[in-house]
Amino acid sequence: MRIGTLLGRGITALMLLLAAAIALTPLLWLVAATTKGPDDLFHYTFFAPQPTAQSFRDLFGRVPFLRYMLNSVFVTCTAVMVQLFLSSLAGFALAKYEFKGKKAIMLLMLATVMIPNQVVIAPLYELVYRLRMVDSYLGLIIPGAVSVFGIFLFRQAILQVPDELLHAARIDGCSEFRIYWDIVMPISRPMVGAFCLISFMGTWNAFLWPQIILHDNHRFTLPIALNQMVGLQEQQQYGMLMAGTLLSVLPVIVLFLLLQKEFVAGLTAGAVKG
């Protein structure tokens, strides 16, 4: 191998390693910070020789953190399931049936995709207020229950399902809903995985709408609860805050590692083909 090639490869590898280090260092620091006591936090750059669980004890002792976690889990799981069901069902209808008004629905959806969310926040709040859903999980979950993005994702995936399969099922006397449930959904499993992850991340990390809708401390989800903790912050409590941050990001990371392959496929499906 020529010296030049070798040098080029070395530089490439070096740049990649450097970028990887930059990407990982804040995360490593976060993990390390949760193992340090208040005195050690800035004394040692990363890990201290004497690890302690003080931050976690403070976190669960001083604030109802477990409650916030359960709130987030409940809200996110409910929202993901509702979104998944409604998006895939509508996506199936738009992919595999011809019916009156289909074109109009598609056009309507396309038109609203172009309009950023911020346009509807104010009227949406007014509406949710009228429906008496302010400060409730209903008001948090229902307005986001339909994801136009999700419908397009599922329509795209379900278009690939061969029609013959559906016809065969019909001849066997399968009802349309069972076709959706027993044939279309199992075949679209990669897309289900991708959508669940995207939808989970969106709901889990959501800040603006929960911040507007939720008032009672006991209903807070993790992002707004942690943001409130920043406000109460004294120097000594950074450890607690970092512990809260770590526990808040961990579920997403675990889920991502499980669904990684599907996620990348789902993310780039629209962009590369379209």
Binding site: T12, A13, M15, L16, A20, I22, A23, P26, L27, A33, F42, T45, L89, A90, Y97, E98, F99, K103, L108, M109, T112, P116, Q118, V119, V120, A122, P123, L124, E126, I142, A145, V146, V148, I151, H167, R170, I171, D172, G173, C174, S175, E176, Y180, M201, N205, F207, L208, P223, L226, N227, V230, Y238, L241, M242, T245, V252, V264, A271, V272, G274
Partner: protein, 338 residues
Amino acid sequence: VRQLAAAFAPTVTEKMPRYPGSKGPSFELAKSKAAASRRTPKWFSLQQRYAPYLFVSPFLLLFTLFSAWPILKSLALSVYATNGPKDAVFVGSANFRFLLADPDFHTGVWNTAVFAFFSVFLQLPLALGLALLLTRGWLRGRELFRLIFFSPNLLGQVFVAILFSVLFIPQYGLINQALHALAGIALGTKWLSNPALVMPALVLTALWMYTGFNMIYFLAALQAVDRELYEAATVDGASGWQQFWAVTLPGIRPVAIFVLITSTIGSFQLFELPYIMLNNGSGPNKAGLTIVMYLYNNGFVTGDLGYAAAVGWTLALGVLVISLIQARLTGAWKASEE
């Protein structure tokens, strides 16, 4: 409509098996699923006929109520001044006139535009560069690198903001420590309380968070470029740099345009990062005030939903114009016609 009906008609007859209408209940003892359907042919054909409507109706209902209707309502609301969701007074175009004259709005637009400009022009070349490095054939561990580069994006803006607000602490913060050791900046550099440094801090944070995310798109696009084109270019004696301009860039152009436009739109919606890093405020001298923060403050702190709707529409219009300009400049229209 006629076209729709024409498309509709043949599929109906094709998809729906005709059942002898008057056979009725003589099939009652059927056991298999197939026979079960014949037992009540009327029910079966009815559910076939109405299935698509049933499938889209829950979506359509919620979509109309919580998406389409608020968009229309938002137009109406933007010409009212409100005090919370209850009291509204018609003010005509006053909201928009006030908005365009308000120095705070100007600050918000300027900050957001600066953030968008630097984010896009630092993130995207860097993301493309990383993606190019990762497509080297000899490279081992590509999947692992991809995972590592993408990982910051898993955190969500709120958690990134909290983490970085600690990393940016003067004296002890990791960022100052590192930059002091490597580049000799002052340890006491106050990123989040010096008006001149707020924006660089935000851009850096976004750079850390989103570069890997954009890289995923570039990587997918690069892997889809035809290998033979590179071989042909090599045979023709094209240098690496020439290949990049002649083969790579045209090959990934549609994706590059997509990433450019979507990340610009995303940057213009900046809210959580500054709001949380600056302790639920707009920072020193409002150096971290963004358009969406301005909207939030006016709509949900002051309580003027009408004004917030006006800000929302102004943002939407601005973003639309910028996207169209970008599409025009990059020749996105031509790309889609090809």
